[in-house]
């Protein structure tokens, strides 16, 4: 897989359920960031987790990072229809440019 590769590619859940999205990467990183993009719109920063952190919370979001497995997960709890969007992980290696994955399309059914 390439740097910043998410899975699954698409996820459809019922409102109120939790959504878990995974990201794998190849090279060493300084940090890993998750972004959200509504259809045809800009990238909204959700959360940043540094390489020396294992877990981070922000509201209904929980991100984990396992540097030994070079993977991260984003959990959205109690999902809402408004969470419907594409979600991207982006890795920030030592040279600071972000490398994005292809994204996960999340659909939350009301």
């Amino acid at each position: 897989s390439q740097q910043g590769e998410e899975d699954p590619q698409a996820l459809s859940i019922q409102e109120g359920e939790n959504a878990t999205m995974n990201c794998s990467y190849k090279t060493s990183i300084n940090n890993l960031q998750w972004y959200r993009q509504n259809s045809g719109r800009g990238l909204v920063h959700l959360i940043l987790i540094r390489s020396n952190e294992r877990e981070k919370h922000s509201g209904r979001l929980r991100v984990t990072l396992d540097t030994s497995k070079k993977s991260s997960s984003l959990l959205i709890t109690a999902s809402r229809a408004a969470d419907t969007a594409s979600y991207f992980c982006a890795t920030d290696p030592l040279d600071s440019k972000l490398t994005f994955g292809k994204g996960i399309t999340l659909s939350v059914r009301p």
């Binding site: 990238l43 920030d92 030592l94 040279d95 600071s96 440019k97 994005f100 994955g101 994204g103």
Partner: protein, 114 residues
């Protein structure tokens, strides 16, 4: 809350024409970036800019592309002679300093080359 702004939101141009995409980064940020996203594809890094010079560029950023910070607030991306394959969403991003800081993205400019 401060945000990155971009203009125009949508630009339509004829192949071979020059376009300038404009960005106003967050005011105390020192590092600036351009990325692009072709429809249905990944967001790709184009160029990073710090201290009034390019610090890194990707292989996409060829001689047709240039960036400039003409004054203390604007950061521009120029495409000299647009091609059909330049059609994409172009995102500007900025961050304060330090490689562990968040990059904040603008809303993007959708460029359509006819």
């Amino acid at each position: 809350e401060p945000e990155v702004t971009q203009t125009p939101s949508h630009q339509v141009t004829q192949m071979g024409q020059e376009v300038i995409l404009r960005c106003v980064p967050i005011s105390n940020h020192l590092y600036f970036y351009w990325y692009r996203q072709i429809l249905g594809q990944k967001v790709e890094f184009l160029v990073s800019f710090y201290n009034n010079e390019i610090s890194e560029k990707s292989e996409i950023f060829d001689d047709q592309f240039s960036v400039e910070r003409p004054d203390g607030s604007n950061f521009t991306l120029k495409i000299r002679s647009t091609k059909l394959e330049d059609s994409a969403m172009y995102f500007c991003a900025s961050r304060v300093a330090g490689s562990t800081d968040t990059q904040y993205f603008g809303p993007g400019t959708r460029l359509t080359v006819l």
